[in-house]
Symmetry: C2
Subunit: 671 residues, 2 copies
């Protein structure tokens, strides 16, 4: 049993609370296109009213304002009034009946001590502005207020998306809904819903009921749920682009319908992860008839004008070994499988056009003969985005935004679809529609998804919305630390995740040390985990690596502390010294815990390495006190840290960059 | 920004980890009727198999075993095999088609080093036994195992329930489902679903669509959801008893159907809480025709043989002021409203009988003329349970189990429906079917429900299941500390609740001190809050009191530490001294936090009182070092503590009983 007295103020090092008002970007994320701050504060109290002007009967606007008022109430503890002085909201038009990348998302917000006024050409613009207002709410000793400001805002890119793969592991409808809430909060506008995979087909089909009936283990969305989620997304100004990956990644289709594959079958739901042989047979007309019927049915569920066919990673085996397919290729003069896939894609493109859809596909589909209405999603690198744009295709960048690579917010944030000095012409640059972060689901479940997407997604969302020049990493992390708590208001559990899993890992024992430890490490990347742990889609994901989170707050906080220490801040030095003294005690504590909690054992290699990292940190602090260290000392310690930065089991120490900064800084002036 | 280094081992006082194996009750909750421990351990590893014997085709059994295997996998990190050596499960019969209080819930479990065998007369018994197995899972340095044991188990009472009021605040379907998972884990078998109230009517009616259409603010369960939840409950051996409260507490019915009320209307959904005037008109036949049609429709949704009519707190006004009703009463010779309500209840009883239902009602319905098939639920005191039993009615005890009274697990635990030396005859005692805890929802929402029900419900569940003699409070708390983590495995968020709400309250500032403080206090009771804070059903429940939890772990942990200190344990004394030194620092810390976080201000009165409590604690520790204190000193300090134990705003200090124990103990030998 555990007696939670209180953290020792002396040891839990707290950087000062975020001083929102002292920064020009305050708590805003993404940073608006143009902001100017005024004098004065608009007080928020129980008399604060919200009035909608014009657009009576736009029920989406009404619902948005109702949600805004509920969220404001949850923040402040008092409701707002319907009507009366306070905030005036005006939407000039309801926006597109089916939202497209051309939707106008601009808004203007003016706050003075006397009142606030939000105006937008469309209700979607109002949605964006309401989120900005919620980010402006601050408090002082007199209570809640909005600072006086004038904001004119518009997105940099029209396509700002998040891919969620529900094929490899299913995500219940309510999990998708709370991601949509989070997305809306950071002004994203596309949910790219990866709905079929070798491991599962996730949508109810009334026309081909064996798709979900045999291909989903019973884990699929009913058509009613799909409609509900699409409507939920639209209410938040978010498009839903479905992806049904073909011709590869398609084992789950063939469990019920083996006749459309390129080899006889039978097929089973795939439990392993990787690239598998099953592929649609592009040579038979029945396949296109089937897919035409499928698109016809699904087009009734997914109103978006875009439809993602996947098209990635088609294994060559089934096509190569099928005599009829080989002979078809010969007849058509197709030199290789790529040409055959290009043929398949052209056929699919025609089917989609017939149903009013524009085709989107992964960059493998970049073959000649496709109409330039096709959108190419670049996952293999920024080069394919450029190549597509040169050929006249619109493109979306995903390379660099793979959330399962477990990179830091900073790393994702600094990747720009159109960086300064990019090689695109003006015309080509206009074809870069934006970007999408990808949440692939080999190692993600309902339990961990929030902690994998958030808060990093907020940093990426800023890259897609804000001007290119907004790229101050320290300020991004400052605001991310505000945003990650605000995102919890929406029911996202990224902050609760690690302590909760720690309690489960520790089987009811005290978890303070385990939680502290897990706050200092991060999961290895997708690729590193694949090479170290044998997993199937049935393996329970309940390991220490699943409890850790990518880019834990300690990563940046320790780096910031190290920068202060190098700048001569005595308190920062003292706190780091304390940290480097306490961290080594975690290893024996975790050893003790692991006796009755076998799953804690996975923490041991990293906990031991933390001892070494701490020792180098202490040495570096000593050096700082003594004057410049020798180049040799710096080289040696840096090399050691580099080797300690490698994966330790399935974990990686996240505070090594901070210690490395100290070591390098011990050589002289801060870089 | 916050740098989470590590808790100071010196200050975060940890009692030793629960040593499950050293106690005869291990981690079992509720304690089985008969347990004997053997020698040896049955190892659990990836080769462990689960085999179902007999009852092929009982899909409820199949699903139960599948869930068991998933949960075992989530605990251990490896899946179990389907079939093969390991656990053998045998159910002799599927159990009642519609579960009743007569359902056989017995099971026998035998574990040896060679294997485990679970046998039960019904699948419901198997369900109970599978939960026991999951509570037996332990670990040592060689990994996971089940200890050798023989358990013969059966419930003490056949009716073990939890009432959830979704009328005053709605709870989404998934929230109800996770309560059902928690209930199954502690062997409860009745969800008493309070589905209508003045503040909302929560079920879709196709026959009378204005019920949910006008009476719910859109917050209701569709019939599909009701069916899904009833099936979900049945899968877990839990009956669902619907309550539609009539003739009072019925404003929401009359928003759509004012013609059935005793005054003309119109009616609105009630936003205040309390007892309100609207009541069904018992004098008109159309009312019974309507209710008959309603029961007919709902009987198709709720298969249970019992139907709860509420019947509590009927306000006299509408009946008194309606001339026609007064004249009806005169004609019938009814002397008062009670007699009129008795008439209404007899009519309802007949309607329910016609639809195959037995009537349940609150103890107000105890009037002459009701068939003794009626079940009386005692909420006003144990006396009404006895009165009912004397008159031949079966009864359920709820007095003493009101979760919104914010009492401790201990207080609820020690209330027994049939305590030793009770005044019931054997025949009368047999009419006591069991008990139900009540989760009324004036001050409870989707966000806080788990923290209000769990883990206290587990202690109450033990009272309903285990032999009367199981009442060792210290052992109960020891096991509750294991159980509260296990309950998290089911998705319940009672443990995450306080830190999560603290983060929101603190608006992104560091929350360590706030979380520590909230761990030392508890919410005031329902009645105390009502008298101190003006609330409606629309008020956001986002206050410090909503972040605190009833009976926080610190309550018992500090008491235990105090008992050790009194017994001479030097370490316990040192740790308490540390606690009493750190607690006073919370007040200024919270003051600082509150500057930018207005909702934190509510913590101030209690934080200041904590300073005084700590000072008395330190004095008591000093006294312990000096030998017996004077009776006068003890009297004075105890009186001060009693006054400090009163509500401070909406909070109450939960560690005062521990300090009082120290003060009393300072006078001499431990009581």
């Amino acid at each position: 049993m555990y007696l939670p007295l209180v953290l020792a103020a002396a040891v839990a090092v707290n950087a000062p609370a975020p001083r929102q008002a002292s920064e020009s970007t305050r708590g805003l994320m993404p940073v608006p296109a143009r902001v100017s701050w005024g004098e004065g504060r608009l007080r928020l109290d129980s008399l604060f009213g919200v009035t909608i002007h014009g657009r009576a009967g736009d029920t989406r606007l009404d619902r948005a304002v109702a949600r805004f008022r509920t969220r404001l109430g949850a923040r402040t503890g008092f409701g707002s009034r319907e009507g009366g002085p306070g905030l005036s909201v005006e939407s000039a038009a309801p926006g597109e009946a089916i939202q497209s990348p051309a939707e106008d998302e601009r808004y203007t917000l003016e706050v003075t001590a006397a009142g606030a006024r939000l105006e937008a050409p469309t209700t979607v613009g109002v949605l964006r502005g309401l989120e900005t207002i919620l980010q402006l709410v601050e408090a002082d000793s007199s209570g809640w207020y909005l600072p006086a400001t004038r904001i004119e805002d518009a997105p940099r890119f029209p396509w700002r998306g998040l891919l969620i793969d529900v094929g490899r592991h299913f995500e219940p409808a309510e999990v998708i809904k709370r991601q949509l809430d989070g997305m809306a909060a950071v002004k994203l506008n596309v949910l790219h819903w990866h709905l079929s995979e070798d491991q599962g087909f996730r949508v109810e089909s009334k026309r081909y009921p064996l798709l979900h009936g045999k291909g989903s283990d019973g884990q699929f969305y009913t058509q009613a749920q799909i409609r509900e989620i699409v409507a939920y997304a639209r209410d938040r100004g978010i498009r839903v682009v479905p992806e049904f990956d073909i011709p590869g990644h398609s084992s789950a289709w063939f469990v019920g319908y083996p006749q459309y594959a390129s080899a006889p079958g039978p097929y089973r739901i795939e439990r392993r992860f990787g690239v598998f042989d099953p592929a649609f047979d592009p040579t038979r007309e029945v396949v296109y008839t089937f897919l035409d019927g499928f698109v016809a049915e699904m087009a009734g569920l997914f109103p978006d004008r875009y439809w993602h066919i996947g098209g990635d990673e088609v294994a060559p085996k089934q096509w190569r070994e099928n005599r009829r397919i080989r002979s078809f290729m010969k007849t058509k003069g197709f030199p290789d499988n790529e040409a055959l896939q290009a043929y398949f894609n052209r056929r699919m493109s025609a089917i989609l056009t017939k149903h009013g859809k524009r085709m989107v596909g992964w960059d493998e589909i970049l073959h000649p003969g496709l109409p330039t209405t096709t959108v190419v999603q670049s996952w293999r690198g920024q080069e394919s985005l450029l190549e597509g744009a040169r050929k006249g295709f619109s493109g979306i960048l995903s390379a660099g935004y793979y959330l399962d690579h477990m990179r830091t917010s900073e790393q994702h944030y600094l990747i720009d679809p159109l960086p300064e000095g990019h090689p695109f012409t003006t015309e080509q640059a206009a074809r870069v529609l934006g970007g999408e972060a990808c949440m692939w689901h080999e190692h993600v479940t309902e339990a961990s998804i929030d902690s994998r997407i958030w808060p990093r997604m907020a940093a990426i969302a800023e890259r897609f919305w804000s001007p290119r020049e907004v790229r101050d990493v320290a300020d991004m992390y400052r605001r991310l630390n505000i945003m990650r708590i605000r995102l919890e208001e929406l029911g996202l559990n990224h902050e609760s995740h690690t302590p909760r899993m720690a309690r489960l890992l520790a089987s009811g024992q005290n978890v303070d040390q385990l939680v502290s430890f897990l706050g200092l490490v991060e999961p290895v990347s997708f690729g590193e985990r694949v090479s170290r742990q044998k997993l199937t889609s049935l393996t329970p994901l309940v390991f220490a690596v699943d409890a850790a989170r990518p880019d834990p707050p300690a990563h940046w906080a320790t780096r910031e502390m190290a920068m202060k220490a190098l700048a001569g801040d005595a308190e920062a030095r003292a706190r780091l010294r304390e940290a480097f003294t306490v961290w080594p005690t975690l290893s024996p504590a975790l050893d003790a815990l692991a006796f009755g909690a076998p799953l804690v054992r996975d923490t041991r290699p990293a906990a031991r390495v933390l001892i070494q990292v701490s020792a180098i940190g202490l040495e570096a602090l000593d050096q700082l006190g003594r004057g410049p260290a020798s180049a040799e000392w710096i080289r040696m310690r840096s090399a050691t840290l580099d080797s300690l930065a490698k994966p330790q089991g399935l974990l990686r120490i996240s505070v090594i960059p901070a210690v490395k900064l100290l070591v390098r800084g011990a050589g002289g002036p801060v870089p």
